[in-house]
């Protein structure tokens, strides 16, 4: 396999989904931003105003967490649902597997739309956050983390859609994994305040490390290498599981 052919194949696979984003840009933007903005308003200005440091200090704290959360909320369910529909109802996912493209390109191509959605939403959110709270800086490395985190959660969404036999089953992933991660992974509070036993579990989850990376880069300008490595590990894990699942399905 020629490595130079991979980006081209990824684009070919992703083209249909990217056209959908382009033609439905407002809808994509709104659906990606409403949730994070509600978190920002409800938690940042609502709960934050009753905190000792006031809302501006809390907004500064939770904004990186909400950006981290956006890399999950913009990717997992949209990729999972779209691929599930393409797999079970349109049958176009089967058709894709018939085309002369590598499995790696299928995985990265089907998840690219999630990355694009997430990148758009996170950028808007960070710009808005910077205007609200100038203490939040937009470090260039943040974009690298957004891309890797979005790809990781998109691949998790792809994996969920490959393991699911009906749309209702997808809510099981959301209820058992996504919702707990949303609230527990240091997006809205500092996980170091948790009891030791709970923090072991929380630190085993990928979103915790995305929150750590975002907060460190946007507030302190530091780069927690251990969290970055854990994120890469999850990325490799989800990629391998998707690869294995697709490979198992066909020859």
């Amino acid at each position: 396999m020629n490595p130079l052919s991979v980006p081209d194949e990824i684009y070919r696979v992703a083209w249909g989904d990217l056209v959908y984003i382009k033609e439905n840009f407002i809808e994509v933007l709104l659906t990606g931003l409403v949730g994070p903005l509600l978190y920002l308003i409800a938690f940042g200005f609502g709960i934050g105003s009753s905190m000792p440091g006031g809302s501006s200090q809390y907004v500064e704290f939770i904004l990186p967490g909400i950006v981290a959360l956006t890399t999950l909320s913009c990717t997992f369910s949209t990729v999972a649902m779209r691929v599930l529909v393409q797999r079970l109802f349109y049958m176009s996912f089967d058709e894709l597997l018939l085309c002369p493209v590598h499995i790696s390109s299928v995985i990265l191509g089907k998840t690219l739309s999630g990355v694009v959605r997430s990148l758009i939403s996170c950028t808007v959110l960070m710009v808005a956050g910077h205007l609200i709270s100038p203490g939040v800086t937009i470090h260039p490395l943040v974009f690298v983390i957004i891309i890797i985190a979005s790809w990781t959660f998109s691949m998790f969404g792809l994996l969920a859609s490959l393991l699911t036999r009906k749309t209702q089953n997808l809510s099981l992933f959301t209820s058992i994994i996504i919702v707990p991660m949303t609230f527990l992974c240091g997006t809205l509070f500092d996980v170091s305040d948790l009891p030791a036993a709970a923090s072991y579990i929380i630190y085993a989850l990928p979103l915790t490390h995305v929150s750590e990376l975002m907060r460190s880069l946007m507030l302190d300008g530091t780069f927690p290498l251990d969290s970055f490595l854990v994120l890469l590990l999850y990325s490799a894990l989800f990629f391998s599981l998707c690869y294995y699942r697709i490979r198992m399905q066909k020859q």
Binding site: G16, Y20, Q86, M91, E95, P100, Q249, Q251
Partner: protein, 286 residues
């Protein structure tokens, strides 16, 4: 003629259930090959396995000399498939779907627009090219799906129940398309429920039942398996019984003692063979 599809000892199991039970056959280059069988006989599983969508339990498949396991990219580049289900993206237009298929099959960028027009013209898709697939009727969706399957000019085109749900005019238009593609050198592998479709289109036909191929040959060869002349009679409960004969003279001799109006002598057709071999009708081989 050379074998462009070579299937050898193919087995597909789902748990304890054996969907395809050790079948072997070749599809010759340039022919229209029909694959008939009752519901649940293993037709779709076979086609999905040959086209690399479904994993086999054992056995091998070669497409144009390429093993679908070890050389799957080369094998796939020679395959086009129109599945039973409409496998297009409903959120995109017909043109966008065709472009996406062309891109996935690595057709050169500058060739894609003309190829879309050429392929679309075959099924008279012109007026619907810029309609979203979700806005099309079932018949037009199927036509668009078939056009997508030939956009890359495959060596072998697999058509899984291609005329299901089409009106008579569209069905005949599709038959003409199949013949035209075949004349241009495309080998066609066709599964169908419409036996007259197989009889009219196919050079050779395989009949599969319970995952096994129970007959394979040209239509005259299959007719000879049961007898080329049929006498239809009715039993006291009013059920139709068919009696098969090698020639008309034997059939007439058989019917000579019967009252007029209680029997019918006619040429055996593929449906008779199909029903006889798959146990779908009570018949007697004379």
């Amino acid at each position: 003629m050379d074998g462009i599809v070579e299937v050898k000892d193919l087995v597909v199991r789902f748990g304890d259930f054996t969907a395809v039970d050790g079948i072997s056959f070749d599809v010759r280059k340039g022919e229209i090959f029909g694959f008939l069988g009752p519901n649940g006989a293993g037709k779709t599983t076979t086609i999905r396995t040959i086209t690399t969508i479904q994993k086999s339990t054992s056995g091998s498949v070669r497409i144009d000399g390429f093993d679908t396991h070890s050389d799957y990219l080369d094998a796939r580049s020679r395959i086009g498939i129109a599945q039973q289900h409409i496998s297009l993206d409903n959120d995109l237009t017909v043109r966008q779907n065709l472009k996406h298929h062309a891109m996935l099959h690595k057709i050169p960028k500058d060739r894609i627009p003309s190829r879309i027009e050429e392929a679309g013209a075959i099924m008279e898709l012109g007026q619907f090219m810029d309609h979203k697939v979700q806005d099309l009727s079932g018949g037009w969706k199927r036509k668009a799906s078939i056009v997508a399957s030939i956009i890359h000019e495959p060596s072998v085109l697999f058509l899984d129940e291609p005329t299901a749900g089409l009106d008579t005019r569209s069905r005949h238009m599709l038959w003409d398309l199949v013949r035209a593609l075949n004349r241009n050198g495309t080998t066609i592998f066709l599964t169908t429920h419409y036996i007259e479709e197989a009889e009219s289109l196919c050079d050779r036909v395989a009949i599969i039942n319970h995952g096994r191929i129970i007959a394979l040959g040209t239509v005259p060869e299959l007719l000879d398996l049961v007898g080329s002349v049929t006498v239809e009679t009715t039993d006291p409960e009013g059920r139709s019984i068919t009696h098969f004969f090698r020639d008309r003279a034997s059939a007439k001799e058989f019917a000579s003692g019967m009252e007029d109006g209680f029997f019918n002598i006619r040429r055996t057709n593929l449906e008779d063979v199909f029903l006889e071999l798959t146990g779908g009708r009570k018949g007697e081989l004379a």
